[in-house]
């Protein structure tokens, strides 16, 4: 940032008195604009330039284009334009749902498997293993997925088993693998419920569906193409129109049985815990992106994979319920 600020400050030739105007034409907040102004003022001061209200104006503009943020300095007939890297914004999430970030990367994530200090990350084209050394995850191995058919346009997949013997299940095929990522891939085979070429799964009793959560006592929450989420079983079937197609079972001691995506606005989703009757039991957590997948991670946790459009990254969270005291 300081190198860019130095280039901008160089628009003023030599030591002189100037006045300063700053325009923020970006989606960055006032704090980022203030930081931009401070950075340039520091460099101007170092170059012996003084600020005065009635002097020749230096116009600073913080702007953005399709590739990111740029900064512009105009003084007289001279204009300098440079790329500008603002400090990263802090993500925010708050609720009685507890979301612990686990992993983030720029490539799409279909599922992860976390076992102690070992991590397996499944993407549409690769699976990669990581080992934690201290606080840092280090990539150990990567393997290409050689399926006999292409993945569908809305690719989904699951990792099942453990690090020593795992299975990859997708609509393009299945793989078995071991910790050293020796993979054996082939057609879908037994136990793979994905519908070939589609983003749905199939069950003999339920037909074609997107996701389901076992709510206990014979009840299932099922999201299916063209229909709102339904809670079936126990001689009842009720619709839950406020729930989206992403859902996963999530147990808690305070009446929550499943987690669902909720009302959206543009590029953001929300998450909320629901009870077995389909009523929300937690405040909705508004995310900084859209939910790509909700997969159970044991009985009392869910892995939520979220795409952040602002940073074009995929982040996986471990979601649990914190019950009120």
């Amino acid at each position: 940032m300081s190198e860019a600020a130095k280039q901008l400050a160089a628009v003023v030739p030599g030591r002189q008195r100037i006045s300063l105007t700053v325009e923020n034409r970006t989606t960055l907040d006032a704090g980022a604009a203030a930081e931009f102004r401070r950075a340039v003022e520091v460099e101007l001061s170092a170059a012996g330039v003084e600020l005065a209200r009635d002097a020749q104006p230096l116009r600073l503009i913080l702007s953005e284009n399709v590739r990111g943020t740029i900064a512009i300095a105009q003084f007289g007939s001279k204009t300098i334009v440079v790329p500008w890297n603002p400090a990263p914004a802090r993500a925010h999430s708050r609720a009685r749902l507890t979301m612990s970030p686990l992993w983030v990367q720029s490539e799409p994530v279909l599922d992860i498997l976390l076992e102690g200090d070992s991590l397996l990350v499944l993407g549409p084209a690769h699976v990669a293993s990581y080992k934690k050394h201290g606080e840092v995850w280090q990539n150990e191995r990567s393997a290409v997925l050689n399926f006999p058919a292409p993945l569908p346009r809305d690719p989904r997949g699951r990792l099942t088993g453990g690090m020593d013997a795992f299975r990859i299940l997708t609509a393009a095929g299945s793989c078995t693998g071991t910790r050293n990522l020796a993979l054996t891939c082939g057609p879908q085979g037994e136990g793979n419920a994905w519908v070939t070429g589609r983003n749905t799964q199939r069950d003999a009793a339920l037909g074609e569906y997107y996701n389901l959560a076992d709510l206990g006592e014979g009840r299932l929450a099922v999201s299916a193409p063209g229909a709102p989420v339904r809670i079936t079983g126990a001689n009842t079937a009720i619709a839950v129109p406020s729930a989206g197609t992403e859902l996963a079972p999530l147990r808690s001691a305070c009446g929550t049985s499943w987690l669902a995506t909720g009302a959206t606005s543009g590029d953001t989703d929300s998450l909320a815990g629901m009870n077995a009757a389909g009523a929300p039991t937690t405040d909705a957590v508004t995310l900084d992106g859209t939910v790509q997948a909700l997969w159970p991670a044991g009985d009392d946790a869910v892995h939520a994979i979220v795409f952040h459009p602002a940073t074009q990254s995929y982040e996986t969270f471990r979601v649990t319920i914190t019950c009120p005291e």
């Binding site: 034409r25 399709v66 440079v82 690719p155 197609t245």
Partner: protein, 388 residues
Amino acid sequence: MLTLMASTRPRYGGTLRVQVAELPAFETAGLVAETLVRIDGRGDYQPGLARAWQRDAEGRRWRFSLRPRVVMHDGTLLTPAVAAVLLGPSASVAGQQVVIQSDTPAPDMLERVASKVTIVRKAADGSLTGTGPFRLTKLEPGRRATLTAFEEHWAGRPFLDSLEFTTQRGGPVDVTALPVSTSRRAIGERVRVWTSPPRDLAILSRPAALRDVFALSIDRDAIANVITQKRGDPARGLLPDWLTGYSAALPSEHDLTRARQAAAAAKAGPVTIAVAPSDPLLRLIADRIALNVRDAGLSVTVGNAGTVRLVRLRLPSNNAAQALAEFARALGVAVPTGLTNIQALYDAERAMLTENGIVPVVHLPDVYAVDPRVHNFDPARLEMVWVE
């Protein structure tokens, strides 16, 4: 009333019916035929039918490694040999790669293969065989076209079963291309309006000695607010602000006092602004420009022929440097080179504006009315659209 819908996964199936002013050119539109390389929204080159490429030091010889297991609509496997035949005489095969050879250095080869060269076979009867997500299954030239999903597409079949394009009015449609000047009231409340970032530029070319009179008298804000219903952006530069970010730093020239001085100094006779009769929006803009320039003291009319031309230029690329170079070619001015960073781009665009007597007026988006049952609408990526 704002209705929030719970997020849903896309559905496979259904037909999207699109009404347009003219049918797309299916050989190049990306639905039926694809390119080796594609340009993403940021202007970066991404793999298309080629997954990797290399060039020699001079940029004359370019080698492309094809994506494996790509099948054409007739079941033919797209091998380097097949691709080379379809790419034309400048292409050949070297091992497992397709080679495109240029007699002169071609640093813009990726731009060419991304925007101008599709891999498609056209039969004598006009039928097309490509690799795209849709097959062209029925065509009434100028009137109607039906495309059906290609199940074996390398990236997965599209969500839609079929696309229907029509230029005829009156039948049921899901998506309608609209003139930019269409008022919200005329569209109706139930229908969504999809607006692209500005992609067209209305520009006055060759006002020559009268450049200052036109540039200083045109009220671009009024044109953008009134004629384009606030959908267009007043144009300070050739490239839209979403692509460069520096439009605010280009000269903003509306100054009627200076325009009158320039008109008085020019001592010019009557001037006609030529505008294509087939473009009603440009005619509206030209009429407004004529009003503004008359306020400066010049005698101006609008007609089919004239010394000053108001034209519409389509943004040729999401790559800003390439787009500026193509604009220069289209306007018949010197083509800038060496645009390797944003400072160079700004300097080149500013020089083009001040040295060539061209006057950008307004940037225009594409506008569509979209039925609520249509999801993920983007006219550039119809393979990702789905319907309820």
